[in-house]
């Protein structure tokens, strides 16, 4: 690493991320992947508000999981009032 002294950030200041922090990608922590059953989902947004990693979004096509950051904690599955989210072992997937 070669940074000239003038380019070293002042007092440990670093830029703020806008929509995601790519310095800490946590998707690889996951052992179980949330899968949505779109037929059961009522889009009540309870899973969206309960996700500690802001990894659920309400898109026009329904709820979407951000698997780049989802840690697989399973809160979404637990809070869903209609049981539309299931957790599938990560090893069942090829990607």
């Amino acid at each position: 690493m070669s940074i000239s002294p003038n380019e070293v950030p002042f007092a440990g200041t670093v830029p703020s991320p806008k929509t995601e922090n790519e310095g800490m990608i946590t998707g690889s922590w996951r052992t179980r992947r949330p899968i949505l059953d779109a037929d059961k989902c009522t889009e009540c947004l309870i899973c969206w508000i309960s996700c500690p990693d802001s990894s659920i979004k309400a898109a026009s096509s329904g709820m979407e999981f951000n698997l780049k950051y989802c840690k697989g904690c399973g809160i979404c599955n637990e809070v869903c009032p209609v049981g539309a989210i299931s957790l599938v072992p990560e090893l069942d997937f090829e990607d």
Binding site: P17, N21, S54, G72
Partner: protein
């Protein structure tokens, strides 16, 4: 002025506490941080006194905040916030900046507020700075490996209060009641509330009321910690709900001196239902559970909720 959020659909979509942080899976404090940031909006400065929400969020050279954030030592969250507030006020008064006065939010843990950070918190509230101080209570010093803090409940296992043949109940002392301490000793206090991450709308609205109060506001947030309390990561929200439903945590607010109970459970459950799901209470004998029931009943009585589960 920040508006009241009426329903989940009306809650802001934007995130200011973005994905990509080193907190554990199912982290309660991370979830409440996200809700606080969402409610506060873009014109916010966060202060992170040392604690989980500083240590686990900042990785080398990056952090998950889309708004400015600054670290303070665990002792001086209130003092750093006072300085930022006073500097903004002076610069606005002298027309040295055209910036709008920001929401200054301290996000301190129970150690940074009820224990090590108490003097700076109390001094800032005594002087009447326009800040919102949030104490997220995960009931232990969690980032250093679960040591006991003054808000750790009676009977909980921590590495500093292990249960054994000499002290069978683990922690022997009853927890400190920080919100009541803050409520009754600070004449300049404008707004005080307790909230839980299991009631997200209530939490976000209390953040907004605190920010609208234009003076020192204090918010005490119950934030279950799967690692420290030994329960599965997916039960965080359920644990927050159970704490309120069993009377171990009470939701109320104090707005300009007016006390109001903001949530009253339909039926109070026995504390046993809350503690049997947590590994930190697994060693408790029936007589210890009765002591915890007495504690919960006492707190319920204090806030004006009828006690329906008797303690022997």
């Amino acid at each position: 002025m920040l508006e009241e959020i009426k329903s989940l659909r009306k809650a802001p979509e934007e995130e200011y506490y973005v994905p990509g942080h080193r907190t554990c899976a199912g982290c309660g404090p991370a979830l409440q941080y996200r809700l606080v940031a969402k409610a506060a909006g873009p014109n916010t400065i966060f202060l992170g006194p040392t604690g989980c929400m500083y240590v686990a969020n900042t990785s080398y050279g990056c952090g998950p905040w889309a708004v400015p954030w600054i670290h303070a030592q665990i002792t001086n969250g209130g003092a750093v916030a006072s300085g930022i507030e006073a500097a903004y006020k002076a610069m606005i008064r002298k027309h040295k900046t055209d910036a709008e006065f920001p929401n200054i939010i301290v996000m301190a843990g129970d150690g940074g507020s009820a224990d090590i950070g108490l003097q700076a918190l109390s001094a800032a509230f005594y002087r009447g700075h326009n800040i919102l101080f949030i104490a997220y209570d995960n009931e232990s010093y969690a980032n250093t490996g679960i040591q006991t803090s003054p808000t750790t409940p009676y009977g909980a296992w921590t590495t500093f209060s292990p249960a054994g043949p000499v002290i069978p109940e683990g922690k022997k002392l009853m927890p400190k009641d920080l919100p009541k301490m803050m409520a009754h000793g600070h004449p300049e206090l404008k707004y005080l509330a307790t909230a839980s991450l299991a009631y997200p709308l209530d939490l976000m609205n209390k953040v907004r009321r605190g920010l609208n109060a234009q003076g020192p506001s204090f918010l005490y947030v119950h934030a279950p910690c799967p690692k420290g309390w030994s329960f599965p990561a997916d039960k965080t929200v359920e644990m927050g709900k159970l704490a309120v439903e069993t009377g171990m945590f009470q939701l109320y607010e104090l707005n300009e001196g007016q006390y109001k109970l903001t949530y009253q459970p339909k039926e109070i459950k026995p504390v046993e239902e809350y503690i049997k799901l947590q590994g930190r209470f697994s060693h408790l004998q029936p007589e210890h559970i009765q002591k915890l029931q007495q504690f919960a009943n006492g707190r319920l009585k204090e806030v004006g909720i009828e006690v329906s589960v008797p303690a022997q």
